[in-house]
């Protein structure tokens, strides 16, 4: 029997606000344990939570960007459970009335094949603290608790079970990561846990519509990890069902090192969170005017920008995707294009030199000393024949190291292209005189040696000669020699 895979993802994104969801403690990563806590996030009696406006705005931003309906009225609820990293004994979340409903994200598993993954809801909540189980540091029957993270604002993005393969899950998650970074609401770092993903997965016979028994996968710490864990689980469930067995509903933890998912230790009770509206918080009212204001402040979104580039600039789909992956690079490209009428050349510069350089320096585009205006200037210098293309690359690296202007760099490096025919005439003559063997063969009919002479001349000029002028001069001189031979 053939099976169809059904996957739904729950993605938690830590919002990059300055302070926590319901109190003024900092959410800075890496602070000393429990140094960013106060009576509110420690769950002391008698305190009252007050909602962070920016966290709400970020949730609205994400909701609008993925086509959700922003709810004018939503309600914070208590999700009750006991765990030492949750001092209040409940997490403030949203349950029956979340801030965003509906929406979708498009993914493209194969070129030209668009799949719409619907979003069920996005809600606001607070994060829990962190447990440290390091047994080298503490006895085996104890746990250390750091509550700095406790109360950090989160959005949880819940998809519909529309995802049909591990690859689609990867692409969907990739889109979410790109979007939260693009919107500046989350740094999207899965390794550090600022973006986390749980997956529900089940199989069903192809052609049926009822959902099969699902398992829940947790503990994937990278986007590829999510894809691998799901691939593992598809295979496992397929084997069970093919042999006539039944999948057991359970939570599995992905073990990246072992490359397999194992059932969670401890007894699996049906969760009973006894949600109820948090009496400490009034309903969250988001006025239409605020939503409009947030909508107007949204940047051009990645897919829209990509489509504009392919349509208006003639970029290939692939190039547009590469340049559009990161907002900083994307904006950089836009800035270059604004000052040049050569978008394709600009694209090549960025995909070639700029990305290479960032990769080598392991840094972000904001730290690159070559600014967009320098790139457009370099493109102009090449077009005008002031520097050769290869010299321009040398100039680029010089700017990246010194921050000099392109003109200054060209001058300092002495890379100004020589186009003066009388100056280059002597150089070309010398190349011909210095290579009598090659000349003899060329005159004997070996036309391919023309390129050899061009190369020698360029080398002799240390890359500064205008190749077109060199070619013209060589052709002229060699033709004259051929004619005088015959």
């Amino acid at each position: 029997m053939k099976f169809e895979t059904v996957i739904g993802l729950e993605v938690h994104a830590q919002l990059s606000t300055l302070s926590k969801m319901f109190c003024g403690c900092s959410i800075r990563f890496g602070a000393a344990p429990n140094s960013q806590t106060c009576p509110v996030c420690l769950g002391m009696p008698g305190v009252l939570p007050v909602t962070n406006r920016t966290a709400v705005e970020y949730a609205v931003r994400m909701g609008l960007a993925v086509h959700c309906d922003i709810q004018p009225h939503s309600v914070f609820a208590r999700k009750n459970y006991f765990y030492p990293d949750l001092p209040k004994g409940y997490q403030i979340s949203q349950y029956e009335e979340p801030i965003c409903l509906g929406g979708w994200i498009d993914v493209e598993p194969e070129p030209g094949e668009k799949r719409k993954i619907r979003i069920h809801r996005i809600h606001l909540e607070e994060d829990a603290g962190k447990s440290v189980h390091d047994e080298a540091y503490i006895s085996g029957n104890e746990t250390l608790i750091d509550l700095n993270r406790c109360g950090t604002p989160l959005i949880e993005i819940v998809s519909e079970p529309d995802i049909r393969s591990p690859k689609e899950a990867y692409l969907y998650l990739h889109k979410i990561r790109q979007m939260v970074r693009w919107l500046g609401i989350c740094d999207g770092n899965m390794e550090e846990g600022s973006l986390r993903c749980d997956a529900n997965i089940s199989l069903r016979p192809v052609g049926t519509t009822d959902l099969g028994v699902k398992t829940e996968l947790k503990n994937m710490n990278s986007m590829r990890g999510v894809e691998k864990a799901l691939t593992f689980e598809v295979k496992r469930q397929t084997e069970i069902l093919s042999e006539g067995g039944a999948v057991i509903q359970q939570t599995l933890l992905w073990d990246e090192a072992a490359g397999k998912a194992v059932p969670m230790r401890g007894k699996e009770e049906a969760h009973d969170y006894r949600y109820f509206p948090d009496p400490d918080l009034t309903p969250l009212i988001v006025e239409e005017a605020w939503v409009r204001e947030v909508g107007e402040s949204l940047p051009e979104l990645p897919d829209d920008r990509k489509n504009r580039w392919t349509a208006d600039y003639g970029l290939s789909d692939y190039d547009a995707s590469v340049l559009n992956e990161d907002r900083g690079i994307s904006d950089y490209f836009e800035d270059v294009v604004r000052e040049t009428d050569n978008p394709k050349t600009a694209a090549n510069w960025i995909m070639g030199e700029v990305l290479r350089r960032l990769n080598e320096e392991k840094t972000g585009i904001e730290n690159l000393k070559v600014r967009p205006g320098d790139i457009s200037h370099l493109i102009r210098l090449v077009n005008e024949g002031t520097v050769s293309h290869s010299a321009a690359k040398t100039v680029f690296d010089h700017i990246a190291e010194t921050g000099d202007t392109p003109d200054k760099a060209v001058e300092k490096l002495g890379l100004k292209q020589v186009s003066n025919a009388s100056e280059l005439g002597d150089l070309v003559q010398k190349v011909i005189d210095d290579n009598p063997d090659a000349l003899k063969k060329y005159l004997g009919g070996k036309d391919a040696l023309f390129g050899f002479f061009v190369g020698q001349a360029m080398q002799a000029s240390r890359g500064k000669a205008n190749p077109k002028v060199v070619q013209d001069l060589l052709r002229e001189k060699l033709n004259a020699l051929r004619q005088s031979e015959s």
């Binding site: 003024g24 000393a32 140094s35 106060c38 920016t54 030492p84 997490q91 746990t143 509550l147 009212i285």
Partner: protein, 101 residues
């Protein structure tokens, strides 16, 4: 209104409370009294009243996203039965997932 003893046991379990049989009976009584009292509300006709979680349907106060000073760690640890290097020290938890359930 009467909540079965089994239900009371379950609720006690979720709240991590353990009772002996006598206590269980006593608390069942209390619980039922409370529910009976609140049950009076059922006498009202609420067909045309929207489910409401708060009567303050006004613009709730929102806080500007600004960092305020946190408590000094010594202060935070003051009432902790056990701590180490700025961490709270607690008995090991059985659940191995280490995060939100």
């Amino acid at each position: 209104m009467s909540v079965p003893l089994e239900e009371v046991k379950k609720i006690a379990g979720l709240a991590r409370l353990s009772f002996n049989e006598d206590e269980l009976k006593a608390y069942s009584g209390h619980l039922n009294q409370i529910l009976d009292y609140v049950g009076k509300l059922n006498e009202l006709n609420t067909d045309h009243v929207a489910p409401t979680s708060s009567v303050q349907d006004t613009d709730g106060p929102l806080r500007e996203d600004m960092v305020h000073a946190s408590l000094p760690t010594q202060e935070v640890m003051k009432d902790a039965p056990s701590h180490q290097d700025g961490f709270f020290r607690v008995p090991k938890v059985i659940q191995s997932d280490g995060g939100n359930p």
